[in-house]
Amino acid sequence: MEREMKMSEKSYILPNPPTPNKAVEFNPDICIGCNLCVDVCPTDVMLPNPEKGKEPIVVYPEECWYCGGCVEECPRPGAITMLHPTQQRISMNWKRKDTGEYYRLGMKNPPPPNTRPPSG
């Protein structure tokens, strides 16, 4: 999602963004800042936002092992999404057998979701 940029915006001295960049992403419109995801993360990938009720801050994305526990713990579906690093997203490819079309995780115009839930 693009944000509106002001041309007069200040630049700061910052360390490079980490790799992977964020591991998980919050939707501030859905997240209520309950920090249940923060509490169960085995490696403290994210920490509570100093402002109460706001989404947590992803501080140590390179320590994430992508178990998805934070997503399972979340009481507000859609508030938190697990993101494979780009180097893995470009590796997850599939081909539709009858049309020969190629797809990948993270592509621009993805096919409609397969809504069948997992077994159990």
Binding site: Y12, L14, P18, T19, P20, N21, K22, A23, V24, E25, F26, P28, V40, P42, T43, D44, L47, N49, P50, I57, V58, V59, P61, E62, E63, C64, W65, Y66, C67, G68, G69, V71, E72, E73, M82, H84, P85, Q87, Q88, S91, M92, N93, W94, K95, R96, K97, D98, Y103, L105, G106, M107, P110, P112, P113, N114, T115, R116, P118, S119, G120
Partner: protein, 664 residues
Amino acid sequence: MSTWHEYIQATGKLPEWPYPVDYNKVNEVVTDVLVVGGGVAGLQAAINAAKKGVKVAVAERGHAKRSGAGGAGVDHWHGAVTNPCSKVTPEEYTQGCYDSMAGWTGGHVRYIITRESWDTLLECEKMGVQIRDVNDEFKGANFRDDETKLMFAYDYRSRHMLRIWGYNIKVRVYEEARRVGVDIFNRMMVTSLLNEGGRQGNRIIGATAVDTHTGEFYVFRSKATIIATGGAGRLTLFSPEMTASGAMSDMNNAGVGQAIGWNAGAEFVCMEASGPGRLTGLGYAPYSMGNAGNTFHGTPIVDADGKEVPWVDPFGRELNTVEDRFIPQDGQQFSLGIGIGISRTNKEFGLNDITPDLPERIEKGEFKLPLYADLTRLPEHERRVIFGMMVGNEGKTRIPIYNTMTRAGFDPDKDMFQAPVMPLEGYFNSNYWSAAPNTPSVVRMLGGGGFLVDWNLMTNLEGLYIGAGSTLFGGGCHGESHTTGRYAGRHAAEYARTAQEPVADRQQVEAERTRAYTAVKQNKGNNGWKEINAAIARIMRDYCGRHKNEMTLNLGLRLLNELKTTELSSAYASNPHELGRLLECQALVSVGELAIKSSLERKASNSILDFHRLDYPDMDPSGWNKLLPIRQEENKVVVRELPLDFHLKAPYAASYEENYQRYA
């Protein structure tokens, strides 16, 4: 907003550490049984000790609800040989494991696992884990027993490996631990075990820890202690920017259990064993690409033109039908699954697989890259059980693979899942996502070695028990962790009932406390934990890699020791999180020392341990077919010799059954 960078740019302020920090505070916890590590093994140990009526505390590095290598789920359970449908006995299964490793695995631990694995799973069922096809989703499938509704994996004839719906298993075990009154202490970086009288080799009477949220110090005093920690994943490779979602174990796997055991005087065997680091995470996210191994066993692999690659039995004979892929063939007793800590399998216990000469056949032009996993060629039950049941319940698949892929539109009924495009030798192993050639040959992982235990799963140190998958000689996979934890919990509780009150040695505690907080007092411009970890991994790759000799091993030891007095001792931690990671680096150095010192003692190359001494190049010479238990006494190495079948020799009985009856 999600990231720290966004927050800084939006507010212009550095967020303060969110938890109250007090590096001076000391907390004391007194308990009957202390469990170090709150993964599936540790919580099973805690539950089973608590059921015996003793007071139990767990010191967990992360948060016990979802932590540990088994914290993200499991889709199949090995060694359930006493389930009502199994055609394999505990003796046969144990012998299959033992013979496959030519004796280089703890036979007594294997036997305990096979005797109790099914009972352990039944207890998980009572906790709320689905282990049967109760919804009749797979009614009529040839891998399902219609009476018990149990579902079998990999070997549909022998029926000792079960498919289960374990995506929530850790949560259920955690809830049970809470229900039976276990005290769980989360965010505990355990720094040492306490010995009676403060002396290495004496009875274990507790442990010390640092809380990685608050920085507070903890002294646990316990009558009995169980180590239930994971492996040392960060010892030989530290590259989180690369491994990321390919990781097979999380960052907390720093060999802390082995380190504190070694420093307290516990005995280890086979720590000189290592192997290629195929599963280090330098491949692709587990189960995220087309393949035919493990969870995807039986999946048809086709080439770019849709030509199918043949399946063969362990003797290389081509299989004609899909059904054959799941049945042991002529000359086979039964199949052993992979991932159970058995690094090699005799052909009579092997699994059917994609033909191993695929690399040459691709090179000759018979098959054209890229390859695909074509699940559409399978009968509906097989397709659904692989992508739907197993991918969906296995560790790290519910959210990371099943939900992620299906939301992106992947449909196993219509789509072919692409395999990695990689150097051809990578197609030798059908677990293509592990992509062997992506991991440089210098990266090796410790494998197979661990704490040496008796038939009670107790170490040489009084009061110290082990229940774990990867730190125990003879341990294995997910189910093995539950089962050994359960057994160790019972035995530790029995011991604790009559054991004397633990009295911690004040000097030992104070010395440990001083050591633990060194990093927060250093110059803020000094090295941080990541740089130190990378250096440790480099030393281990260079000096304890595939080829070793006395000189290079000693040089490696010297460098590890030097690090302790230079870059590591001056490294800085700006908050309790970084402090925890630096203390893990201290643990890694201890495990590195243990591996190198074990390597120095084995003055012979060994094919099963994948151990290559350039100064002793003869492979498997006579006279070296023995274990070399190693421990520290007054910080000096003490080594003895032990036959591989020590578990069936005096003071033990001569048969597995007799010993089990005597000790279980």
